[in-house]
């Protein structure tokens, strides 16, 4: 794992989903078993990049997600390595039983890509805004779950999926998003990235929330608070070791996710803390709400997911830590 942090809160000129395509193009060249199946959403993630290069290994299943997952499982059974894409809402809850039995229980290496995670669905609104996509996969034994943050990480982690031997799910941001890492960065599935080492509180974030966490760290620093920032791009298998060592070090934790809280990154981390090292913890994410239409920045405020919300949560967690010691 070698990465370079280049975050300065600015938007990449390239779309995140093109990172998936460029990465797939490489993988498909190296490995003739890799195929991509889409559900009439090729236009949304620019599949033409791989379709033109490998017309025989890119399939449209039409608007029939359940079958697309099943077909992927059959392909995997013959030794192929299938990637299946739909919007996150459909690539999870609409095909839960297919994912669970045909893929998960059957132990087939099927790699599902769900686009438009959480509030990035923006104007598409509630019907297309997945707050529970990762939750469905969290319930599946041994599924791998990835929530990448930017172009470079999407590119790097897509390549790594080929070696995952069971069901996996990766969220895919469709549009241009803030750059966090330099292009040549490399990551390991299941290993969180320590972006800042602090001593007062640990912020663990993934996906679009990493950028907000870094911004929160800056604000906190100005107030004399020293925060760790972790990019937990892999929700499962979760980097338990890193979580516990950070908990021991800072004694206060804040999680930040673009997902609902009843079954998500925060609750998975809470499970780890409760069993290993209970400390004050605050969670940022969606609480008991459905999605809605709106621009991403407005939704971010609406669901209390901004850098300022993270800052407040950190202060609360640190206060709880101090209160506990008294």
């Amino acid at each position: 794992m070698s990465y370079r942090l280049v975050w300065n809160d600015t938007i990449d000129s390239r779309k995140c989903c093109d990172a998936y395509q460029e990465s797939m193009k490489k993988i498909m060249k190296q490995n003739d078993k890799v195929v991509h199946i889409d559900c009439d959403l090729m236009g949304c993630i620019d599949t033409k990049i791989i379709k033109e290069a490998y017309p025989d290994r890119v399939f449209n299943a039409g608007i029939a997600e359940a079958n697309a997952v099943g077909v992927a499982c059959g392909l995997a059974a013959t030794g192929m390595i299938p990637f299946v894409h739909s919007f996150g809402v459909f690539a999870s809850r609409r095909v839960f039983d297919q994912l669970f039995l045909s893929a998960g229980y059957s132990r087939w290496p099927v790699h599902v890509i769900g686009s438009d995670p959480g509030i990035t669905a923006a104007y598409n609104g509630a019907t297309h805004m997945p707050f529970e996509d990762c939750a469905t996969y969290l319930t599946m034994p041994n599924a791998t779950i990835i929530d990448p943050v930017d172009y470079a990480q999407t590119f790097a982690l897509t390549k790594k999926l080929v070696d995952v031997k069971e069901l996996s799910y990766m969220r895919l941001i469709r549009k241009n998003f803030k750059t966090v890492y330099a292009d040549d960065s490399d990551f390991e599935i299941g290993k969180g990235v320590v972006l800042k080492e602090g001593k007062d509180v640990t912020i663990i974030a993934s996906g679009i929330m990493v950028s907000n966490a870094l911004k929160a760290e800056e604000i906190l620093r100005k107030q004399g608070i020293d925060a760790s920032v972790i990019d937990m791009h892999t929700w499962k298998p979760l980097d338990t070791e890193l979580i516990v060592s950070q908990a021991r070090k800072t004694g206060a934790m804040v999680t930040a996710e673009n997902h609902q809280l009843s079954c998500g990154l925060g609750s998975a981390i809470a499970n780890v803390l409760i069993e290993n090292c209970p400390i004050p913890m605050e969670m940022i994410g969606i609480r008991e709400q459905y999605g809605q239409c709106g621009p991403q920045d407005v939704l971010e405020k609406e669901y209390k997911m901004s850098a300022e919300d993270i800052v407040e949560a950190c202060i609360r967690a640190i206060k709880r830590k101090a209160d506990r010691k008294d």
Partner: protein, 286 residues
């Protein structure tokens, strides 16, 4: 061997499958006798004659595949595979026991020779379609056979799979539609009817359809498979007009989906199956 001799051999094999299936279900005391009996003849044709497979190497790349999308027919599959040497058939007398390799619904992670895991109706046919596509992509010259129940065909996923298979011209996919007219809650006609019928539906989806008048007649099934092999473009649906519970008179009569029988009732139906086997194979000696 003449065709007549071959057909007779398959009839004997079907009778053996029936007997063993019943013994397997009897080891548990209850199970899906009806749906197992209706497919026994087709399993006999597949594993007795048309499929290429290697019991010592179940994952042989060049093999033909067989997927029981109506996964609750597991015991019939276990009887067939056991009789063909994938394992000792008696091992399957542990049906649904704790840690068994023989759960009532077929599971490729547990049973040698089972190609894909099924049990949630509608999913197996998609998996079979994927296997057919995967084999074709790897230039493997083989067929994927899949059993779909007429009740199962209520599931939307069956038709998603059907349109995909036709769109990609998977002529290496042969589906047996077990048209036994019954599903769990009774007659399909009452529970959920199939409009112009399953043959018409598959035809409308762009499949080649072969209707088998008596879907429990090995010769008619065998001829249908040979006809299916000649198709160059389309996936093939062999629609079998079958009888749920075929060969077990009490179940034929009741049409029961799942049977819970007492010891005496088991003795009666196992004896019936044994007598049928003796009668059919006895013809051989005559």
């Amino acid at each position: 061997m003449t065709k007549e001799e071959k057909i007779h051999e398959l009839e004997v094999f079907a009778a053996q499958i029936r007997l063993e299936t019943l013994k397997i279900i009897a080891s548990r005391g209850n199970g899906h006798i009806g749906g197992c009996m209706s497919i026994a003849d087709t399993l006999a044709v597949l594993y007795g004659e048309v499929m290429k497979y290697d019991p010592k190497n179940p994952l042989w790349k060049q093999r033909d595949w067989c997927v029981l999308s109506k996964g609750h027919g597991g015991p019939a599959m276990y009887a067939t595979l056991g009789l063909k040497g994938f394992y000792d058939v008696k091992e399957a007398y542990t049906l649904n026991d704790f840690k068994t390799s023989f759960p009532s619904h077929t599971d490729h992670t547990k049973t040698p020779g089972v190609d894909l895991t099924t049990g949630s109706l509608g999913q197996g046919i998609s998996e079979a379609v994927g296997a057919a596509l995967g084999n074709r992509l790897q230039n493997i010259n083989s067929h994927v056979f899949v059993f779909v129940g007429d009740g199962e065909a209520d599931e939307g996923q069956v038709w998603e799979a059907a349109q995909f298979a036709a769109h990609y011209k998977l002529n290496n996919l042969i589906a047996f539609i077990d048209d036994n007219k019954r599903q769990l809650d009774g007659a399909c006609e009452d529970v959920m009817s199939h409009g112009k019928g399953l043959s018409a539906k598959f035809d409308a989806f762009g499949w080649k359809v072969i209707d088998v008048k008596d879907g429990n007649d090995v010769e008619q099934i065998y001829d249908a498979v040979n006809e299916a092999y000649t198709e160059k473009e389309r996936p093939i649906a062999i629609v079998l007009d079958t009888k749920k519970g075929k060969g077990v008179s009490s179940v034929e009569k009741s049409g029961a989906h799942s049977s819970h029988l007492n010891k005496e009732e088991w003795e009666v139906i196992i004896k019936e199956a044994q007598d049928n086997l003796n009668r059919i194979s006895g013809k051989e000696n005559a």
